[in-house]
Symmetry: none
Protein backbone atom coordinates (compact mmCIF):
# COMPACT_ATOMS: atom_id res chain seq x y z
CA UNK A 1 0.00 0.00 0.00
CA UNK A 2 2.53 2.55 -1.10
CA UNK A 3 0.52 5.69 -1.14
CA UNK A 4 2.21 8.65 -2.69
CA UNK A 5 3.29 11.59 -0.63
CA UNK A 6 2.52 15.20 -1.36
CA UNK A 7 5.46 17.48 -1.98
CA UNK A 8 5.05 18.99 1.43
CA UNK A 9 4.91 15.63 3.13
CA UNK A 10 8.00 14.48 1.31
CA UNK A 11 9.83 17.62 2.32
CA UNK A 12 8.91 17.03 5.93
CA UNK A 13 10.03 13.41 5.71
CA UNK A 14 13.32 14.45 4.16
CA UNK A 15 13.86 17.01 6.87
CA UNK A 16 13.29 14.37 9.53
CA UNK A 17 15.79 12.07 7.85
CA UNK A 18 18.35 14.83 7.53
CA UNK A 19 18.01 15.76 11.17
CA UNK A 20 18.47 12.15 12.21
CA UNK A 21 21.63 12.00 10.15
CA UNK A 22 22.89 15.31 11.41
CA UNK A 23 22.14 15.01 15.08
CA UNK A 24 21.37 11.38 15.72
CA UNK A 25 17.80 11.91 16.87
CA UNK A 26 14.57 13.09 15.31
CA UNK A 27 13.34 16.69 15.45
CA UNK A 28 10.54 17.90 17.70
CA UNK A 29 7.26 19.30 16.37
CA UNK A 30 8.46 22.83 16.95
CA UNK A 31 11.78 22.23 15.24
CA UNK A 32 9.97 20.95 12.18
CA UNK A 33 7.55 23.87 12.35
CA UNK A 34 10.30 26.46 12.52
CA UNK A 35 12.21 24.85 9.66
CA UNK A 36 9.21 25.19 7.38
CA UNK A 37 7.94 28.48 8.71
CA UNK A 38 4.88 26.79 10.13
CA UNK A 39 3.52 28.68 13.10
CA UNK A 40 1.40 26.02 14.72
CA UNK A 41 2.54 22.69 16.05
CA UNK A 42 -0.73 21.36 14.85
CA UNK A 43 0.34 22.04 11.29
CA UNK A 44 3.18 19.64 11.90
CA UNK A 45 1.00 17.07 13.61
CA UNK A 46 -1.19 16.82 10.55
CA UNK A 47 1.86 16.04 8.42
CA UNK A 48 3.15 13.45 10.83
CA UNK A 49 -0.28 11.85 11.04
CA UNK A 50 -0.34 11.66 7.26
CA UNK A 51 3.17 10.20 7.13
CA UNK A 52 2.23 7.63 9.72
CA UNK A 53 -1.03 6.73 8.02
CA UNK A 54 0.82 6.24 4.75
CA UNK A 55 3.36 4.03 6.44
CA UNK A 56 6.49 6.16 6.20
CA UNK A 57 7.00 6.64 9.91
CA UNK A 58 5.93 5.08 13.17
CA UNK A 59 5.26 7.23 16.16
CA UNK A 60 5.34 6.57 19.85
CA UNK A 61 2.51 8.83 20.97
CA UNK A 62 3.33 11.22 23.73
CA UNK A 63 7.03 10.67 23.56
CA UNK A 64 9.33 13.54 22.76
CA UNK A 65 10.92 13.00 19.35
CA UNK A 66 9.30 9.59 19.17
CA UNK A 67 9.56 9.23 15.42
CA UNK A 68 10.78 6.03 13.82
CA UNK A 69 11.42 5.75 10.11
CA UNK A 70 10.03 2.70 8.38
CA UNK A 71 11.74 0.87 5.53
CA UNK A 72 9.35 2.70 3.22
CA UNK A 73 10.95 5.94 4.26
CA UNK A 74 14.21 4.63 2.96
CA UNK A 75 15.60 3.45 6.25
CA UNK A 76 16.36 -0.02 4.94
CA UNK A 77 17.74 -0.87 8.34
CA UNK A 78 18.73 2.46 9.66
CA UNK A 79 21.59 2.32 7.17
CA UNK A 80 20.56 5.00 4.80
CA UNK A 81 20.36 7.42 7.63
CA UNK A 82 24.08 7.05 8.04
CA UNK A 83 25.27 7.67 4.50
CA UNK A 84 25.18 4.05 3.60
CA UNK A 85 23.76 2.08 0.71
CA UNK A 86 23.23 -1.60 0.59
CA UNK A 87 24.38 -2.85 -2.75
CA UNK A 88 23.29 -6.28 -3.94
CA UNK A 89 26.10 -8.67 -4.69
CA UNK A 90 25.51 -10.48 -7.94
CA UNK A 91 26.82 -14.01 -8.04
CA UNK A 92 26.43 -16.52 -10.82
CA UNK A 93 24.09 -15.09 -13.42
CA UNK A 94 21.08 -17.18 -14.39
CA UNK A 95 20.31 -17.10 -18.09
CA UNK A 96 17.62 -14.79 -19.29
CA UNK A 97 16.84 -13.05 -16.03
CA UNK A 98 17.71 -9.46 -15.23
CA UNK A 99 20.96 -9.04 -13.43
CA UNK A 100 19.32 -7.90 -10.22
CA UNK A 101 16.92 -10.83 -10.13
CA UNK A 102 16.77 -12.71 -6.89
CA UNK A 103 18.30 -15.81 -8.42
CA UNK A 104 21.51 -13.94 -8.95
CA UNK A 105 21.65 -12.39 -5.54
CA UNK A 106 24.46 -13.30 -3.26
CA UNK A 107 23.97 -11.00 -0.31
CA UNK A 108 24.59 -7.34 0.17
CA UNK A 109 27.55 -5.08 0.56
CA UNK A 110 27.24 -1.94 2.62
CA UNK A 111 28.86 0.95 0.82
CA UNK A 112 29.46 4.55 1.76
CA UNK A 113 27.46 6.97 -0.36
CA UNK A 114 30.67 8.61 -1.50
CA UNK A 115 30.99 5.55 -3.72
CA UNK A 116 27.39 5.19 -4.87
CA UNK A 117 24.69 7.76 -5.14
CA UNK A 118 22.32 6.23 -7.63
CA UNK A 119 19.94 3.35 -7.26
CA UNK A 120 20.37 0.17 -9.22
CA UNK A 121 24.06 -0.19 -8.52
CA UNK A 122 25.24 -3.76 -8.07
CA UNK A 123 28.43 -5.38 -6.86
CA UNK A 124 30.25 -8.35 -8.27
CA UNK A 125 33.39 -10.21 -7.50
CA UNK A 126 36.03 -10.13 -10.21
CA UNK A 127 37.51 -13.40 -11.40
CA UNK A 128 40.84 -13.42 -13.13
CA UNK A 129 43.53 -10.81 -13.58
CA UNK A 130 42.59 -9.57 -17.01
CA UNK A 131 42.15 -6.01 -15.70
CA UNK A 132 45.29 -5.98 -13.62
CA UNK A 133 46.77 -2.88 -15.24
CA UNK A 134 43.61 -0.97 -14.45
CA UNK A 135 44.10 -1.81 -10.79
CA UNK A 136 41.35 -4.41 -10.75
CA UNK A 137 42.49 -7.75 -9.39
CA UNK A 138 41.15 -11.24 -8.97
CA UNK A 139 38.80 -11.27 -5.97
CA UNK A 140 38.06 -7.55 -5.96
CA UNK A 141 34.55 -6.25 -5.62
CA UNK A 142 33.52 -3.90 -8.38
CA UNK A 143 30.43 -1.73 -8.32
CA UNK A 144 28.52 -1.50 -11.58
CA UNK A 145 26.08 1.23 -12.42
CA UNK A 146 23.63 0.65 -15.25
CA UNK A 147 23.67 3.44 -17.83
CA UNK A 148 21.61 4.17 -20.89
CA UNK A 149 24.75 4.57 -22.96
CA UNK A 150 28.33 3.41 -22.73
CA UNK A 151 31.31 5.18 -24.22
CA UNK A 152 34.49 3.85 -25.80
CA UNK A 153 37.04 3.14 -23.12
CA UNK A 154 34.54 2.77 -20.28
CA UNK A 155 35.25 -0.11 -17.97
CA UNK A 156 32.07 -2.12 -17.88
CA UNK A 157 30.59 -5.27 -16.47
CA UNK A 158 29.39 -7.32 -19.40
CA UNK A 159 27.29 -10.44 -19.27
CA UNK A 160 28.12 -13.15 -21.77
CA UNK A 161 25.95 -16.16 -21.29
CA UNK A 162 25.85 -16.74 -17.57
CA UNK A 163 29.21 -15.18 -16.90
CA UNK A 164 29.98 -11.63 -15.93
CA UNK A 165 33.22 -10.15 -17.13
CA UNK A 166 34.87 -6.80 -16.52
CA UNK A 167 36.55 -5.18 -19.52
CA UNK A 168 37.03 -1.95 -21.39
CA UNK A 169 34.19 -1.27 -23.79
CA UNK A 170 34.84 -0.40 -27.45
CA UNK A 171 31.88 -0.39 -29.84
CA UNK A 172 32.87 -1.28 -33.40
CA UNK A 173 29.96 -1.17 -35.81
CA UNK A 174 27.59 -3.91 -34.80
CA UNK A 175 30.20 -5.60 -32.76
CA UNK A 176 31.71 -4.80 -29.42
CA UNK A 177 35.31 -5.29 -28.51
CA UNK A 178 35.93 -6.04 -24.86
CA UNK A 179 39.49 -5.14 -24.17
CA UNK A 180 41.37 -6.42 -21.11
CA UNK A 181 43.97 -4.34 -19.30
CA UNK A 182 46.65 -6.98 -19.22
CA UNK A 183 48.97 -7.78 -22.11
CA UNK A 184 48.67 -11.49 -21.33
CA UNK A 185 45.07 -11.48 -22.50
CA UNK A 186 43.47 -10.78 -25.85
CA UNK A 187 40.23 -8.93 -26.57
CA UNK A 188 36.82 -10.56 -26.73
CA UNK A 189 34.69 -9.63 -29.69
CA UNK A 190 30.94 -10.14 -29.58
CA UNK A 191 27.92 -9.35 -31.71
CA UNK A 192 26.20 -6.32 -30.29
CA UNK A 193 22.67 -7.64 -30.37
CA UNK A 194 23.37 -11.18 -29.43
CA UNK A 195 20.76 -12.49 -27.02
CA UNK A 196 23.46 -13.85 -24.83
CA UNK A 197 25.30 -10.58 -24.49
CA UNK A 198 24.60 -7.37 -22.67
CA UNK A 199 26.40 -4.67 -20.80
CA UNK A 200 25.15 -4.58 -17.23
CA UNK A 201 26.79 -1.44 -16.03
CA UNK A 202 29.72 0.87 -15.94
CA UNK A 203 32.25 0.20 -13.21
CA UNK A 204 32.15 3.08 -10.77
CA UNK A 205 34.15 1.70 -7.87
CA UNK A 206 36.60 -1.01 -6.89
CA UNK A 207 37.00 -2.47 -3.42
CA UNK A 208 39.70 -4.85 -2.38
CA UNK A 209 40.17 -6.80 0.77
CA UNK A 210 43.78 -7.77 1.33
Amino acid sequence: MTIGLTNRQRAVLDFIKDEIVRRGYPPSFREIASNFGIKSTNGVKVHLDALEKKGYINRDPGLARGIELTPLAGAEDASIIRNIRKVPIVGRIAAGVPILAEENLDGYLAVDTTFVQADGVFALVVTGDSMKDAGIFHGDYVLGKPASQYFPGDIVAAIIGDEATVKRYYPEGDRVRLEPANPAFGPIIVEKDLDDFRVAGKIVAVMRKM
Copy 2:
Protein backbone atom coordinates in the same frame (compact mmCIF):
# COMPACT_ATOMS: atom_id res chain seq x y z
CA MET B 1 42.25 11.87 25.94
CA THR B 2 40.57 8.51 25.86
CA ILE B 3 39.59 8.05 29.47
CA GLY B 4 38.30 4.66 30.47
CA LEU B 5 34.72 4.15 31.49
CA THR B 6 33.49 2.49 34.63
CA ASN B 7 31.42 -0.64 34.23
CA ARG B 8 28.29 1.24 35.06
CA GLN B 9 29.06 4.01 32.58
CA ARG B 10 29.75 1.47 29.90
CA ALA B 11 26.47 -0.27 30.61
CA VAL B 12 24.63 3.03 30.30
CA LEU B 13 26.40 3.84 27.06
CA ASP B 14 25.57 0.41 25.66
CA PHE B 15 21.96 0.84 26.63
CA ILE B 16 21.81 4.17 24.83
CA LYS B 17 23.32 2.61 21.71
CA ASP B 18 20.91 -0.31 21.84
CA GLU B 19 17.95 1.98 22.19
CA ILE B 20 19.08 4.05 19.22
CA VAL B 21 19.34 0.91 17.13
CA ARG B 22 16.05 -0.47 18.37
CA ARG B 23 13.90 2.63 18.19
CA GLY B 24 15.81 5.15 16.16
CA TYR B 25 16.16 7.73 18.88
CA PRO B 26 17.93 8.00 22.21
CA PRO B 27 16.27 7.19 25.55
CA SER B 28 15.11 9.80 28.04
CA PHE B 29 16.57 10.12 31.52
CA ARG B 30 13.67 8.26 33.02
CA GLU B 31 13.87 5.45 30.51
CA ILE B 32 17.52 4.96 31.35
CA ALA B 33 16.72 5.15 35.04
CA SER B 34 14.00 2.54 34.86
CA ASN B 35 16.16 0.20 32.80
CA PHE B 36 18.82 0.22 35.48
CA GLY B 37 16.50 0.39 38.46
CA ILE B 38 17.72 3.88 39.27
CA LYS B 39 15.06 5.86 41.12
CA SER B 40 16.31 9.37 40.59
CA THR B 41 16.82 11.11 37.27
CA ASN B 42 19.79 12.72 38.86
CA GLY B 43 21.47 9.34 39.07
CA VAL B 44 21.24 9.22 35.31
CA LYS B 45 22.39 12.78 34.86
CA VAL B 46 25.63 12.04 36.67
CA HIS B 47 26.32 9.19 34.27
CA LEU B 48 25.56 11.27 31.22
CA ASP B 49 27.72 14.09 32.52
CA ALA B 50 30.55 11.62 32.96
CA LEU B 51 30.04 10.16 29.48
CA GLU B 52 30.05 13.63 28.01
CA LYS B 53 33.12 14.71 29.93
CA LYS B 54 34.95 11.61 28.76
CA GLY B 55 33.97 12.30 25.18
CA TYR B 56 31.63 9.42 24.46
CA ILE B 57 28.52 11.47 23.91
CA ASN B 58 27.54 15.03 23.16
CA ARG B 59 24.47 16.52 24.69
CA ASP B 60 22.20 19.33 23.65
CA PRO B 61 21.28 20.70 27.08
CA GLY B 62 17.62 21.01 27.79
CA LEU B 63 16.54 19.08 24.75
CA ALA B 64 14.53 15.93 25.15
CA ARG B 65 16.60 12.91 24.16
CA GLY B 66 19.35 15.24 22.99
CA ILE B 67 22.09 12.65 23.10
CA GLU B 68 24.56 12.27 20.25
CA LEU B 69 27.07 9.47 20.15
CA THR B 70 30.60 10.46 19.28
CA PRO B 71 32.94 8.38 17.15
CA LEU B 72 34.55 7.27 20.37
CA ALA B 73 31.34 5.63 21.44
CA GLY B 74 30.91 3.92 18.11
CA ALA B 75 34.46 2.69 17.78
CA GLU B 76 34.43 1.11 21.20
CA ASP B 77 32.38 -1.84 20.18
CA ALA B 78 30.13 -2.97 17.41
CA SER B 79 28.99 -0.04 15.34
CA ILE B 80 25.49 1.08 15.95
CA ILE B 81 24.58 -0.20 12.57
CA ARG B 82 24.80 -3.85 11.75
CA ASN B 83 27.54 -4.88 9.36
CA ILE B 84 28.97 -1.44 9.15
CA ARG B 85 31.95 0.30 10.64
CA LYS B 86 32.64 3.95 10.55
CA VAL B 87 36.30 4.37 9.80
CA PRO B 88 37.94 7.71 10.52
CA ILE B 89 39.55 9.35 7.54
CA VAL B 90 42.95 10.68 8.40
CA GLY B 91 43.95 13.83 6.58
CA ARG B 92 47.07 15.83 7.08
CA ILE B 93 48.95 14.51 10.09
CA ALA B 94 49.83 16.94 12.85
CA ALA B 95 53.26 16.37 14.33
CA GLY B 96 53.53 14.49 17.58
CA VAL B 97 49.90 13.50 17.99
CA PRO B 98 48.50 9.98 17.55
CA ILE B 99 47.22 9.24 14.11
CA LEU B 100 43.63 9.07 15.28
CA ALA B 101 43.77 12.38 17.11
CA GLU B 102 41.03 14.79 16.30
CA GLU B 103 43.42 17.20 14.62
CA ASN B 104 44.02 14.67 11.90
CA LEU B 105 40.43 13.71 11.38
CA ASP B 106 38.84 14.40 8.07
CA GLY B 107 35.46 12.76 8.37
CA TYR B 108 34.37 9.17 8.30
CA LEU B 109 33.99 6.44 5.78
CA ALA B 110 31.34 3.80 6.28
CA VAL B 111 32.74 0.39 5.49
CA ASP B 112 31.21 -3.05 5.35
CA THR B 113 32.50 -5.35 8.06
CA THR B 114 33.74 -7.76 5.43
CA PHE B 115 36.53 -5.22 4.97
CA VAL B 116 37.23 -4.37 8.60
CA GLN B 117 36.59 -6.34 11.73
CA ALA B 118 38.97 -4.82 14.22
CA ASP B 119 38.86 -1.52 16.00
CA GLY B 120 41.41 1.17 15.37
CA VAL B 121 41.30 0.90 11.61
CA PHE B 122 41.73 4.19 9.78
CA ALA B 123 41.36 5.33 6.20
CA LEU B 124 43.56 7.61 4.21
CA VAL B 125 43.63 8.93 0.71
CA VAL B 126 46.60 7.88 -1.36
CA THR B 127 48.61 10.55 -3.13
CA GLY B 128 50.78 9.63 -6.06
CA ASP B 129 51.10 6.51 -8.13
CA SER B 130 54.05 4.92 -6.41
CA MET B 131 52.03 1.80 -5.62
CA LYS B 132 50.45 1.49 -9.03
CA ASP B 133 51.63 -2.06 -9.66
CA ALA B 134 50.03 -3.16 -6.41
CA GLY B 135 46.73 -1.84 -7.70
CA ILE B 136 46.79 1.22 -5.46
CA PHE B 137 46.31 4.44 -7.37
CA HIS B 138 46.37 8.14 -6.72
CA GLY B 139 43.14 9.11 -5.01
CA ASP B 140 42.29 5.68 -3.65
CA TYR B 141 41.20 5.17 -0.09
CA VAL B 142 43.26 2.63 1.79
CA LEU B 143 42.33 1.17 5.13
CA GLY B 144 45.15 0.77 7.61
CA LYS B 145 45.07 -1.53 10.58
CA PRO B 146 47.57 -0.96 13.37
CA ALA B 147 49.52 -4.08 14.25
CA SER B 148 52.04 -4.93 16.91
CA GLN B 149 54.42 -6.28 14.31
CA TYR B 150 54.94 -5.83 10.60
CA PHE B 151 56.46 -8.36 8.28
CA PRO B 152 58.74 -7.96 5.27
CA GLY B 153 56.64 -7.30 2.20
CA ASP B 154 53.61 -5.99 4.05
CA ILE B 155 52.05 -2.96 2.47
CA VAL B 156 51.89 -0.37 5.22
CA ALA B 157 50.92 3.21 5.86
CA ALA B 158 53.99 4.93 7.24
CA ILE B 159 54.17 8.37 8.75
CA ILE B 160 57.24 10.40 7.94
CA GLY B 161 57.04 13.81 9.51
CA ASP B 162 53.54 15.01 8.82
CA GLU B 163 53.09 12.97 5.67
CA ALA B 164 51.57 9.56 5.32
CA THR B 165 52.91 7.29 2.64
CA VAL B 166 51.92 3.83 1.49
CA LYS B 167 54.74 1.44 0.66
CA ARG B 168 55.99 -2.08 1.06
CA TYR B 169 57.75 -2.62 4.34
CA TYR B 170 61.22 -4.18 4.52
CA PRO B 171 63.08 -4.00 7.82
CA GLU B 172 66.87 -3.93 7.36
CA GLY B 173 68.72 -3.88 10.68
CA ASP B 174 67.92 -0.60 12.36
CA ARG B 175 66.67 0.88 9.15
CA VAL B 176 63.52 0.37 7.22
CA ARG B 177 63.27 0.30 3.46
CA LEU B 178 59.96 1.50 2.08
CA GLU B 179 59.65 0.05 -1.36
CA PRO B 180 57.24 1.44 -3.95
CA ALA B 181 55.44 -0.76 -6.45
CA ASN B 182 56.27 1.27 -9.51
CA PRO B 183 59.56 1.09 -11.38
CA ALA B 184 59.50 4.87 -11.83
CA PHE B 185 60.10 5.36 -8.10
CA GLY B 186 62.96 4.44 -5.84
CA PRO B 187 62.85 3.18 -2.26
CA ILE B 188 62.81 5.39 0.82
CA ILE B 189 65.18 4.40 3.59
CA VAL B 190 64.60 5.65 7.13
CA GLU B 191 66.08 5.09 10.58
CA LYS B 192 63.83 2.72 12.49
CA ASP B 193 63.64 4.68 15.72
CA LEU B 194 63.55 8.13 14.29
CA ASP B 195 61.08 10.31 16.16
CA ASP B 196 59.64 11.45 12.91
CA PHE B 197 58.94 8.00 11.58
CA ARG B 198 56.45 5.34 12.46
CA VAL B 199 54.38 2.70 10.81
CA ALA B 200 50.73 3.47 11.38
CA GLY B 201 49.19 0.32 10.09
CA LYS B 202 49.08 -2.48 7.62
CA ILE B 203 46.93 -1.88 4.58
CA VAL B 204 43.98 -4.22 4.71
CA ALA B 205 41.76 -2.81 2.01
CA VAL B 206 41.70 -0.51 -0.99
CA MET B 207 38.68 1.41 -2.23
CA ARG B 208 38.53 3.34 -5.44
CA LYS B 209 35.91 5.63 -6.77
CA MET B 210 36.05 5.95 -10.56
